[in-house]
Amino acid sequence: MTALRLAWLYFRIGSMNELQYRANFLIQLLQSAVSVVTALVVLKVVYSYTEALNGWSQPELLVVMGIQILLGGVIRTTIQPNMQRLMEEVRDGKLDFALTKPADAQVLVSVREVRIWRAVDIVAGSVVVAYGVSGLDRSVGAGDALLFAALLLVGAVTIYCFWLVIATLAFWIVDVWQIIELFDGVYHTGRWPVSIYPLWLRIGVTFIVPIAFAITVPAEALTSRLEWSTVALAVGFSAALFVVTRYWWRFGLRRYSGASA
């Protein structure tokens, strides 16, 4: 499939570029370490006062935290840099370079940028998840693990679609990059299971900024809380969002090309 080949190509080039900057790797290592340690300390403090938070035990909370860090790494490695570049290019009128290439525009603008050193977070997150899983009461079977991986992928796709929908707004609103400030803040909510939040917030982080699907649902897979209705909702929502995003993107693109013609 051309999309995958393109993605691999840009990944190779981007990585080669960034691998030169070893100092950036060390800085990233430090940042990730600091971030993880801080989070763990907070968790420790929380656990000095209670056994379980809303029914989630300490290892289970570690799983949630690990997934948030892991997914954060995925977002910072690929999704965010690409979408930011897209919004910048629309603002500066430089998108045409991407549009005149013989590849599907959506694929191109989604895979061009790679910040390979951010992948440290993916590793750090995985380690935290593994650590959390090791402390669980019930061990995780192969089926659960597979379901986890699949739901993680679905979650990543959901977040990608969210970003692209916002980025496409750039065709109409030049200053849409300011909305991105919002995402970084709201992503904080993903550190804890969504069930602890008041209803209005729960709805906000599930359907408006779809973080709950991306983090809590895979976590539920690993902690034996998953109900099939949730899986259906997650997959269904993600699939629908993907289709809508595609149409929305093409609509925006048509307008962009029409306007500049």
Binding site: I27, L30, Q31, V34, V42, L53, Q178, G185, H188, L201
Partner: protein, 274 residues
């Protein structure tokens, strides 16, 4: 004597003009500021929810702090956090790289004045935009807040004290940029310590005892925990005024440090160029 009075007057004139200029600029970016404000809310809301969940599980309070008091803590937190935002070491890196520093050095005014006045001008705009958000949070989380007049007065001063403390601290860190481009490493470490020992993530009394001891010798709690608890807590008169005094001491100490480092930094910059 007259010359000194004239200097002070013109310095004041500069501060007013600079702050006014910043307000005008910042006002143009209201939308961006709003989005950022809303995004910034997630952090305190998350911790608010976590602690009130625990409190409810424990029968209404944790270490004596009730759910209503947690709500008050974190809502006031959002204002104090905004007052805390100052010029970061990354800003110093940018300013040196873009040649803005040379321009600043050619002016007959210490660049620190420009930073303090500029960011101070930003605050009124943020506060104005914050008020409706605070009202919404009030309705959503039902805090318990009943401050005395003294507490309000001390709070109003303490938030500016917090601003100055953090400005001087980060300014000193920022000047490390003159010697190394890897200032981000030091900055990240300092921020991590600050996150844990300032009352930002966790109200200080909830941290383990050893942490509270360490925090006592650091300036961080004076730019975060103290202003918040001055308004929301039950500090005695002595504690309130003593807190302001502590803030003043930290401001003087850190200002002295910044000015000292600045002298060395300029020597280095002028020797090496950019």
């Amino acid at each position: 004597m007259n010359a000194e009075a004239g200097r002070v007057r013109s310095l004041l004139d500069f501060y007013v003009t600079r702050a006014r200029t910043q307000i005008q600029v910042q006002f143009q970016y209201r939308a961006a500021t709003y989005f950022w404000l809303i995004g910034m809310l997630a952090e305190p809301i998350v911790y608010l929810v976590v602690w009130t969940t625990i409190a409810e599980q424990q029968g209404g309070s944790v270490q004596g702090i009730t759910t209503g008091e947690f709500a008050a803590y974190y809502i006031v937190w959002t204002l104090v956090r905004n007052m805390n935002i100052v010029f970061t070491p990354y800003g110093w890196e940018w300013r040196i790289r873009e040649g803005q520093l040379s321009a600043a050095l050619l002016r007959p005014l210490h660049p620190l004045h420009d930073d303090i006045a500029g960011f101070a001008g930003w605050k009124p705009v943020v506060i104005a935009l914050w008020l409706p958000i605070a009202a919404a949070l009030w309705v959503a989380f039902d805090p318990v807040l009943d401050p005395t007049l003294l507490e309000v007065g001390v709070f109003s001063l303490a938030i500016w004290g917090a601003y100055l403390i953090r400005t001087m601290f980060l300014s000193t860190l920022g000047m490390i940029t003159f010697w190394t481009t890897r200032v981000s490493a030091i900055f990240e470490l300092a921020i991590a310590v600050e996150l844990l020992l300032s009352g930002r993530l966790v109200p200080l009394p909830l941290m383990p005892d050893w942490a509270e001891d360490v925090a006592a010798v650091l300036p961080f709690q004076w730019s975060f925990y103290f202003p918040i608890v001055a308004l929301t807590g039950d500090l005695s008169r002595g504690e309130l005024l003593g807190g302001l005094a502590a803030q003043l001491l930290w401001i003087l100490a850190l200002t002295g440090l910044t000015l000292l480092v600045w002298r060395f930094a300029i020597r280095r910059y002028s020797a090496v160029g950019n």
